[in-house]
Symmetry: C2
Subunit: 199 residues, 2 copies
């Protein structure tokens, strides 16, 4: 439990989401998870929508911190680290139950402009980081100068979303899918004469 | 309307799914859409689950027909055609409303082994077609002999799922995403000396 009640309630919301799923989540569930009264939840968050938006903001900040922290000796290792930070949920303490809840949220997104905007921010953040890493690789000569950083970022972010969806919805092998995608990226991006150019 | 009532009911189920979404779909909705009695729906399909499973079977058959029909002068064109058949929903008369309903179904899949098995079949079918096309390209020398057809199929099917998810959930540009992914595939797969090898 945090000293800050608002953050404490967000943590409880995360746990309640994993336990109950998104569709069935009520403020009563959150109150029970936080061992607080419903009134104290209402004091900090007007309603379910406000609370959920605050949770997504909080998760977004954590996500961009992870992306900022992702690093590598080379541009391709940097991209691998970004991909890991993005898709390898389990390694970052996000459990499968949370992924399932977020899949439910995605299914609601088409009907809810606010949720859609919030989810798009996650993809935009990943896209920006990947684009910068690709551009850096082109600049150093590790990647072929024919590679378009915007198009490569589009393809890689799309692949990351696919890894999420396949490994969550039908229980696909997350690590193998992520690995296949990164190997693919590496083969595509790497300049044939990179060894000469770098050394 | 078909002469075959069972198929007629499946068509009505498809339209009802687009209109009402998956979570709220009732046999009463299907009956209204089919302008039949609820009893006549029950005569052909025991319950909502049986009807929905039959619809997925029907859609699977249509899907594999489209994949079988996808063709190209060269292996990369064949892969492009498979990708088109798979992700470019609108061009095949599947509207956005249906994609939304299927996203809802995906979100249910983790909780429902039957649905999960049915959805996995769609991905397996695409994967098999892509793998064969990649293997054919390696055999003819159009693709580099270092390309592993299984890994390439994994990456491409994952990308196709990502295109679906991004363009449906957050209304991303389906064509641009598909295009970026295919260009990516082409650059990765194509052997550097393919021109000489083929000609």
């Amino acid at each position: 439990m945090h000293d800050d009640p608002a953050t404490d309630i967000l943590d409880a919301t995360y746990r309640a989401l994993c336990r109950h799923g998104y569709a069935d989540l009520t403020l009563r569930d959150v109150a029970a998870e936080a061992t607080r009264s419903k009134a104290s939840i209402h004091y900090h968050y007007d309603d379910r929508e406000t609370l959920f938006a605050a949770l997504l903001d909080h998760l977004y900040d954590e996500y961009t911190d992870r992306l900022d922290a992702a690093d590598g000796q080379t541009p391709i290792e940097h991209i691998r680290a970004l991909f890991d930070a993005s898709v390898a949920g389990d390694r970052h303490g996000r459990d499968q139950a949370f992924c399932l809840a977020m899949l439910e949220v995605s299914a609601q997104a088409p009907y809810d402009a606010d949720v859609r905007t919030q989810l798009a921010r996650f993809e935009d953040a990943l896209s920006e980081h990947v684009r910068d890493a690709v551009a850096a690789g082109v600049a150093t000569g590790e990647f072929a100068d024919t590679v378009d950083p915007d198009a490569a970022a589009d393809a890689l972010v799309t692949a990351a979303v696919g890894v999420h969806a396949r490994s969550t919805a039908i229980d696909g092998p997350r690590d193998r899918l992520a690995e296949a995608t990164i190997d693919y990226a590496e083969a595509h991006l790497t300049a044939d004469d990179a060894t000469e150019a770098v050394h």
